[in-house]
């Protein structure tokens, strides 16, 4: 799998927010096998060193594990905000990658697909490599690809909800219509079986954050998601049987003994 020419072995991407401690974050990243971690930006006052502290932890992980950093534009509600934030992220994190979020509604944190496409166009013209957080809408997907996006990140369900895949039909249609575009399920995955299901549907990767960070044991959950993504990927490529409505014996019935 490659994103903008970068080859990746792991199909799990991990967010860095909401962990109980920096140490658990670091252990979770290691346990997950993820090669991409997402980060963000926030206001810092003079003298404060929180951002610096966080960044030194992540930088060390990045260096030690050979990770890629994927900054996001979380919380941006307009193309303009997202564009400005993306530029600041590029400077701070030193990467052209940007996970582009333009939020359209605060309860569901659903993408504003209009602002998203607008911002994607501008950022791609500015040299960014855009990973748009989008819906399963096929027309939107087409416009993002036309704008120059080479990866799409459709939501499974609202960010942080842990509901899994709300619209399996829509996601299947997206996969079917863009068979060669890397597609990453970006939000709402709650348990490992959700991640495996996403991969079985043919998605290329899964981005997880809350369901690892808020698990009772985040490190073990990170391990679990690492395996689930592999399981689902292998399962997809192994060519599953078609489900049947009624039963067929798995033990051949030819040669069955008769005891009267």
């Amino acid at each position: 799998m490659s994103f903008y020419g970068v080859e990746l072995r792991s199909r799990l991407m991990l967010g860095t927010a909401r962990y109980p401690s920096p140490a658990i974050l670091a252990e979770s990243v290691k346990a997950s096998g993820a090669q991409v971690v997402t980060v963000s930006l926030r206001r810092e006052s003079g003298g404060e060193r929180a951002g610096q502290g966080f960044w030194s932890i992540v930088s060390e992980l990045v260096r030690d594990l050979g990770l890629r950093v994927l900054p996001n534009t979380a919380g941006c509600h307009s193309a303009k905000e997202a564009i400005t934030t993306a530029h600041m992220a590029r400077e701070v994190f030193g990467t052209r990658w940007i996970k582009l979020e333009v939020i359209g509604e605060d309860d569901t944190l659903q993408p504003d697909v209009f602002g998203l496409i607008e911002a994607a166009r501008v950022l791609i013209a500015d040299g960014f490599e855009v990973f748009p957080y989008t819906t399963e809408d096929l027309v939107v997907a087409g416009k993002l690809l036309d704008a120059g996006c080479q990866v799409l990140m459709p939501w499974g369900s609202p960010i942080g909800s842990g509901r899994g895949l709300n619209n399996v039909f829509g996601l299947k249609a997206l996969r079917a219509h863009f068979p060669h575009v890397p597609l990453v399920i970006d939000a709402g995955i709650g348990v490992p079986s959700h991640a495996a299901q996403a991969m079985e549907l043919g998605f290329d990767a899964v981005l997880i954050n809350t369901s690892v960070a808020l698990a009772r044991d985040p490190v073990r959950m990170a391990t679990a998601f690492g395996k689930a993504v592999q399981a689902g990927y292998d399962g997809c490529l192994a060519g599953p049987m078609e489900p049947r409505d009624m039963a067929a014996p798995s033990t051949p019935i030819f040669g069955k003994a008769v005891f009267e």
């Binding site: 967010g15 206001r43 929180a50 951002g51 966080f54 400005t84 600041m88 809350t210």
Partner: protein, 65 residues
């Protein structure tokens, strides 16, 4: 001179962004800046001039999903 830094009104004496940031306590650390909604790269801060009422955003790395 009063400027709005991350949403709070602050007094700075310098009208250069780089110097003003030092006054405000930003040193050495990794951060990005924007003035009035326009990004000012690190390399341009020594030449960026401030005016009364300018809105400055100073952003640092944080956790993200």
């Amino acid at each position: 001179m009063k400027v709005l830094v991350n949403g709070d009104w602050r007094d700075v004496s310098s009208d250069l962004l780089a110097t003003a940031l030092q006054e405000l306590g930003y040193r050495e650390s990794v951060f990005a800046t924007a003035v009035n909604g326009t990004v000012v790269p690190s390399s341009a801060r020594t030449e960026a001039t401030l005016r009364e009422g300018d809105r400055i955003e100073v952003l640092a790395p944080m956790q993200g999903g």
